[in-house]
Amino acid sequence: MTLAQKGRWTTLVGLVLLAAVYVRALAFTPIERTQGPAQKIYYIHVPAAIWTETAMILVGVASIFFLFLKDARLDSFAEASAEVGTAFATIVLTTGPIWGKPIWGTWWTWDARLTSTLFLFFLYIGYLLLRGAVADPGARARYAAVLGICGMVLVPFIHFSVYLFRTLHPMPIILKPSAPALPGSMLATWGVSFAVFTVLYVGFVMQRYALARARQEVPHA
């Protein structure tokens, strides 16, 4: 089995599991008291958000190693991770407003967390645009790596600058210093969903990585 096929199977398993997560979330997880059914979107929104940020960090780490080792595989991985990160950022930016409308009464607000995710999305788009705009493969890999590293370093700065603003967004309830404040059954659903998103990330990246490698082997493609 080629890597692309393995990736396709992994993604397929991930998608089936995602459907299962939603069966569990809708039928077997209690409805949150104040937010009602709208809270169910949380099980997609938060895992996607965590993987959006993690994908950017992985792009940056792969870029650092690329500049030292000059291994084309690292560049392909960064490309794949950035594309998957863009897709996940799109999920976050779509599910967020759908939840925001009934809960906050508005689709969009210039809140800290929303703004920083939006800029992360722009960063991904810029990264992919830069890759598309450089014709020479060697220069493309180096430029992308430079931007990838700068992007990774920028993320905490955007985070800090928006944290100094006041925020409307719910504070983290799982990734915080003290114990998670979610009831057990909800936390379990969330945990399963996070695992499923991890499978999806891996599956997507495997496919995109295989494609990027294939492109490198066929010159001028």
Binding site: F122, L130, A133, R142, Y143, V146, C150, S161, L164
Partner: protein, 226 residues
């Protein structure tokens, strides 16, 4: 270190000399700044929004756009007659080359800002005299950070398609932390708030400058070497 700075100054001097012999870019940038400020004046309702509330945004959006215009120029200049190859084979370290470009860009942007600030005061009647020194300090702090990243990126984008469009697309997300910080500090300075309110923002601006000047210096060789 001192040797590197000296060589950096040689590069910067060369750029600035070229600039002041032709004066096209600097004049365009200054006129652009004046025009953006004028556009802002017509883009607001003076009876509904007090100038003081809008002033920090006007100032910083103008400076950001003007700086972006200036940054494209830095390496585009070197593409003609393969001048960049000449610089790269000369006994000049990559660090000196980057710092030279950074110094030239900083001086260029400083001149634009030095013209922009009085115009801003004149057009919008904002009293800045009592906070002039801290304001200049904030402008300097924010400018160093984004010009450092911009100089690095301009070395990459000149060799891409649509360079003029690519630089703003890549650079704008990087302008957010310094821009947000500068706008917040400027707003508090203009409304006479105590200095303790802006300490967090100043730390952010300072950290951004240190991190991105260092990072850009380290990454710059990868944008020019094959």
């Amino acid at each position: 270190m001192l040797e590197r700075l000296k060589l950096a100054w040689v590069v910067a001097r060369k750029d600035l000399l070229l600039e002041f012999r032709t004066r096209t870019a600097i004049l365009s940038a200054v006129v652009f700044t004046a025009l953006v400020l004028t556009v802002f004046n017509f883009g607001r309702d003076p009876t509904a929004v007090p100038t003081i509330d809008l002033a920090p945004s006007i100032l910083w959006v103008t400076f950001t756009f003007a700086a972006m215009l200036a940054l494209n120029r830095a390496f585009a200049l070197e593409l003609e007659n393969h001048a960049l190859e000449g610089l790269l084979v000369s006994p000049l370290s990559r660090t000196s080359l980057y710092w030279g470009k950074l110094i030239a860009n900083l001086l260029f942007v400083t001149i634009v800002e030095a013209v922009g600030l009085p115009l801003f005061v004149l057009f919008f009647d904002v009293p800045v005299w009592h906070v002039l020194l801290p304001l200049v300090g904030v402008i300097a702090l924010a400018t160093v950070g984004f010009v450092a990243v911009g100089t690095l990126f301009s070395a990459m984008v000149i060799r891409t398609r649509f360079a003029e469009l690519m630089l703003p697309v890549l650079l704008l997300p990087f302008l957010i932390p310094p821009l947000v910080g500068a706008v917040q500090v400027t707003a508090r300075l203009l409304s006479g708030r105590p200095a303790s309110e802006v300490v967090g923002w100043l730390r952010l601006l300072g950290a951004y400058d240190i991190v991105f000047v260092t990072l850009s210096t380290l990454l710059f060789p990868h944008t020019v070497d094959e």
